[in-house]
């Protein structure tokens, strides 16, 4: 899994030329071939809802009433706010997802943050920080 994640990570690092469809295909392949049997070992937080497969890196913080899965990867040191729902999504390291956001079929690059009131975000790659819907348009790529 690490190798395939690294390929996606490198593609995201080149944010001048994002090949969204290629990244999307890699993500779907990852879910299909690498996620079987993944389950949660450790996290910081209350009792969230998990639908396997879900993988959480070290020191992931989860808020209240969070729902994760199926097919969710969250990298180390990321923070997930209260009432967040994540499905079929990859969240890389050091990401902050604000409260009550619903991400489906999305990839969030490392060090990104989302902190505004827009519960439903689907089918996109997010690279950077957004405090409003306007901000999000500037840092997201449709897949």
């Amino acid at each position: 899994m690490k190798e395939k994640l690294e390929i996606i990570r490198e593609l995201l690092a080149n944010n001048q030329e994002i090949d969204a469809s290629k990244i999307h295909i890699l993500m779907l392949d990852l879910f299909k071939t690498q996620f079987k049997g993944l389950h949660v070992e450790n996290y910081i937080g209350d009792y969230p809802t998990f639908i396997e497969p879900v993988y959480l890196g070290d020191k992931v913080k989860l808020g209240d009433d969070v729902l994760l899965g199926p097919n969710v990867y969250i990298g180390k040191n990321s923070e997930i706010g209260d009432y967040v729902q994540l499905t079929n999504s990859i969240i890389f390291d050091n990401v902050k997802i604000g409260a009550n956001i619903n991400l489906e079929n999305c990839i969030v690059a490392k060090d990104s943050s989302l902190n505004f009131n827009n519960p439903n975000i689907k089918n996109c790659i997010i690279i950077g920080k957004a405090d409003s819907e306007e901000d999000l348009k500037k840092i997201s790529f449709s897949i």
């Binding site: 389950h39 949660v40 998990f50 639908i51 396997e52 009433d65 969070v66 899965g69 097919n71 079929n88």
Partner: protein
């Protein structure tokens, strides 16, 4: 079932969170509760259509912690794992103890941890099946979160709902949980091997289930000795 008993069950069903609210808040709480139930039923119906489309048999197994739900599933898997392509979905508030037990039978299992919720609902199941190729399965067994109260609020869209109780829960356990038996197709009284030692009135338990739901099929089993597991498989409409 008498009108009085019907009213009593209805009253139990209404004794929920909305009783903590007043006036307009109460109206809103009732409306939200109704909306949630309706949405669950719509989704459960869609799930059932999907299962039928792919010719998948499906069973929702409900019962208290320690009743023997996982043990009975394991006994069934011993007999059916080589004949059916099976997916077992295990619901628990936390831990993956049950999924680990199921996986030892070389059957695919998915654990759902419900956290603060005390039952699986149709949304949980739909999230799984919409991400699976249903061509790969003949049988889906869902083991619900262990208790005899919350699962009565949420149907999951399965062909059959089976409620398992055990002799060790006492002979009043069925009488005290009418809602679940009212909406179940099969009642299993497990750990029958202990009935004599514990002097449990098994006939009373069977009669209680039949009184609450005249259409329910009642069977006594022992996951420990394997007693009546074949009969249970037959009741499920599966070939042993």
């Amino acid at each position: 079932m008498s009108d009085k008993e019907e009213r009593e069950i209805q009253r139990f069903m209404e004794l929920d969170s909305n009783k903590l609210t007043k006036g307009k808040e109460r109206e809103l709480a009732i409306q939200i509760e109704e909306d949630i139930m309706n949405q669950n039923e719509v989704l459960a119906d869609q799930i059932n259509q999907e299962f039928k489309k792919y010719n998948i048999k499906s069973i929702d197994i409900v019962g208290a912690i320690g009743a023997g739900k996982t043990a009975i599933i394991e006994k069934i898997l011993e007999k059916l794992a080589s004949k059916y392509r099976i997916l077992v979905i295990c619901g628990d508030v936390t831990t993956r103890v049950d999924a680990n037990r199921i996986e030892k039978h070389n059957v695919e299992s998915i654990q759902i941890n419900t956290g603060r919720e005390c039952a699986l609902n149709a949304y949980h199941i739909n999230q799984i099946i919409k991400n699976k190729d249903l061509n790969n399965y003949d049988l889906i067994i869902i083991e619900n979160v262990g208790n005899l109260i919350c699962p009565s609020d949420f149907i999951l869209g399965t062909d059959k709902r089976v409620t398992i109780v055990s002799i060790t829960e006492g002979e009043w356990v069925i009488e005290k949980h009418p809602m679940l038996f009212k909406m179940s197709d099969v009642a299993v009284i497990n750990k029958i091997d202990l009935a004599e030692i514990l002097e449990t009135d098994v006939d009373k338990m069977i009669n209680d289930a039949k009184k609450i739901n005249p259409n329910i099929q009642v069977i006594t089993t022992s996951a420990k000795t394997g007693k009546n597991i074949d009969k249970l498989i037959e009741i499920f409409g599966l070939e042993n």
